[in-house]
């Protein structure tokens, strides 16, 4: 439903977005990741028709944002960064305004606003100036405005930024609940959020897409993907070195890193060569040696590691060119 085609944006000599392309289908929640200044917001502003692209375009539900901006704006719900809203207005009057622009009138408008109030929990603040609301409430007002017309496409720029853990949880639940019949794009730099709500992640840095895949696929690119974390009970700390050597001798093992651990056991992370599964080798070894194991677990890989590698690695410095 969202088809981004070689979107580029230059601000004078600065290339903020440089040929970004990806598509989002119904039912997908796409996490749009990247360091600050990577071009996430700029890309979203172009897709929603706020900024004009320098080159390329985005097609939303079959409408080209450059050719038919209004048709696109009718179909998108957009939560801009920081959830701007008119500070002197109350959530009530603000939502009435957005609703009337979206074509809601009279009873339909009232009913829809009542629905939204319970969906995003605005009970009790509807008649207070938005100015006086907490960050969490302001964000919810923005979210209510974005989903007021139940859009097919929802684009949110850092929807949970600045919220407390409970509020984050609530917003994520809401996103998950809406996900099946919408195409959703959300930008974030909270990686746990990607694991929690996204079905796909696109990482951009310096205006270019450097990774595109499911969170699991991205995790697989992590150095610690398929690494085995093992804690072996040892009689004395001196014996830990022997355990380490045994592990290092196993097939497909790249490195064994000691980890801090509580008394009585020696803990290591065993990293495989090229992400191979090494659990069979490790368990065979455990059985053969008769070790008493306190902990044994396969790491899925860490997104933050991938994120750091990708956004600061040689690719990030234009090596791909």
């Amino acid at each position: 439903m969202i088809d981004i085609r070689a979107l580029s944006k230059r601000f004078g000599p600065l290339v903020a977005v440089d040929g970004v392309s990806f598509t989002v289908r119904r039912g997908e929640v796409l996490g749009f990741l990247g360091p600050n200044g990577a071009g996430k917001s700029t890309t979203m502003k172009m897709v929603t028709g706020f900024l004009a692209p320098s080159a390329g375009t985005a097609v939303v539900c079959g409408h080209d944002v450059v050719q038919e901006p209004l048709a696109v704006k009718e179909r998108i719900g957009y939560l801009p960064e920081g959830a701007p809203a008119y500070p002197d207005m109350t959530p009530e009057s603000f939502l009435r305004f957005v609703g009337s622009v979206r074509g809601f009138r009279g009873a339909a408008l009232r009913n829809r606003i009542d629905e939204l109030v319970s969906v995003v929990h605005l009970e009790g603040v509807m008649r207070q100036p938005i100015d006086t609301l907490s960050k969490g409430y302001k964000r919810r007002v923005g979210l209510a405005a974005a989903i007021l017309h139940d859009p097919d496409v929802l684009i949110m720029d850092e929807p949970t930024d600045g919220l407390d853990p409970n509020q984050k949880h609530e917003v994520r639940q809401l996103i998950r609940a809406m996900a099946p019949d919408k195409a959703i794009v959300l930008s974030t730099h909270i990686l746990e959020e990607v694991e929690a709500v996204c079905t796909r992640a696109v990482i951009i840095t310096r205006g270019r897409v450097v990774a595109d895949g499911t969170p699991a696929e991205l995790q697989a690119r992590s150095r610690s993907h398929n690494a085995v974390r093992i804690a072996v009970r040892v009689a004395s700390p001196a014996l830990a070195g022997g355990v380490r050597d045994e592990l290092a001798r196993l097939r497909y093992v790249e490195a064994v890193e000691p980890c801090p651990s509580d008394n009585g056991s020696a803990t290591f992370v065993v990293r495989p060569k090229a992400g191979r599964a090494i659990l069979p080798e490790v368990t065979t070894c455990v059985r053969a040696k008769g070790w008493e194991v306190d902990e044994l677990r396969v790491e899925e890989g860490r997104l933050d590691e991938v994120f750091r590698d990708i956004t600061t690695g040689p690719m990030a410095n234009g090596g791909a060119r």
């Binding site: 009718e74 801009p80 809203a85 009057s93 622009v101 100036p129 017309h149």
Partner: protein, 260 residues
């Protein structure tokens, strides 16, 4: 789940979206004390100018008309109208709400015209509150009400021209104070060609026809001709063109920032 909500409501026309913007903007004037402060100042100052013996000389003239009231409007508006128009776009940009407004399905012209009409309606309300003066002159004497109507029409048209200039300037900055100052300067430039001392200076060396041509570009000249009671089509067209020109300028300023 029921049918998606988006499909239950008809897609509204651009005009009704323009009205939504207009209503929001107009209500926006009244949620803060600014509107009331403006109206009070407007009424106080018009009253002062009109009745003061040195300025308007309403009583001293011994004539039942509203000339002493209207004659100061071009100068009064020079400072009061930019205060109304300065927030139109600058404030949207400063608060970031422009991103919200421009990503709602409102055509750019509808947003510009909606905001402009809201500001104009606000000034019209302030102007309407001066009608007790009109009642007063009718009580005191037997004025030519046609001339007074013309005065109100001219005043409102001139206010529209000032507001359009203010809208355009406001679209160029995110700072309301800067918007105010620049608007005052630009509006002043539109007064000067018809201002007595300037025309006197010009007529010292320029042919009368040229002086007249230059003066015809002035709000002052145009307004005075309307306020005399002559609703001339040319004056209407003049103010309407200034309004249209600066509203196009507003659109250009906003489009320019979008593409920047």
């Amino acid at each position: 789940m029921s049918e998606p909500i988006a499909r239950r409501v008809p897609v509204p026309g651009a005009a009704s979206r323009m009205l939504a913007v207009l209503r929001r903007e107009l209500a926006g004037y009244f949620v803060t004390p600014v509107a009331y402060v403006f109206i009070v100042i407007f009424l106080l100052v018009t009253g002062l100018f009109t009745f003061s013996g040195d300025l308007g000389g309403f009583f001293e003239r011994g004539q039942a008309d509203l000339r002493p009231f209207f004659v100061f409007h071009p100068w009064l508006y020079l400072f009061l109208i930019p205060a109304v128009s300065m927030r139109l776009w600058a404030e949207e940009r400063r608060q970031g709400t422009i991103e919200l407004l421009m990503t709602l399905p409102v055509p750019l012209w509808a947003a510009i015209v909606g905001k402009f009409f809201a500001a104009w309606a606000f000034v019209a309300i302030a102007l309407a509150l001066t009608t007790p003066l009109w009642v007063t002159v009718n009580y005191l004497g037997d004025p030519d009400n046609g001339v007074i109507v013309a005065g109100y029409v001219g005043s409102l048209l001139m206010a529209g021209a000032y507001l359009a200039i203010g809208s355009c300037v406001s679209a160029l900055t995110r700072n309301q104070v800067i918007a105010f100052i620049i608007t005052v300067v630009v509006c002043f430039a539109f007064l000067l060609p018809g201002f007595g001392p300037v025309t006197a200076l010009l007529s010292a060396w320029a042919p009368a026809r040229l002086v007249e041509a230059v003066a015809s570009f002035s709000f002052l000249t145009r307004f005075e001709s309307v306020a005399k009671g002559v609703i001339d089509l040319r004056d209407m067209v003049y103010f309407a063109s200034v309004i249209a020109l600066f509203l196009f300028g507003t659109a250009a300023a906003i489009e320019g920032k979008k593409a920047a």
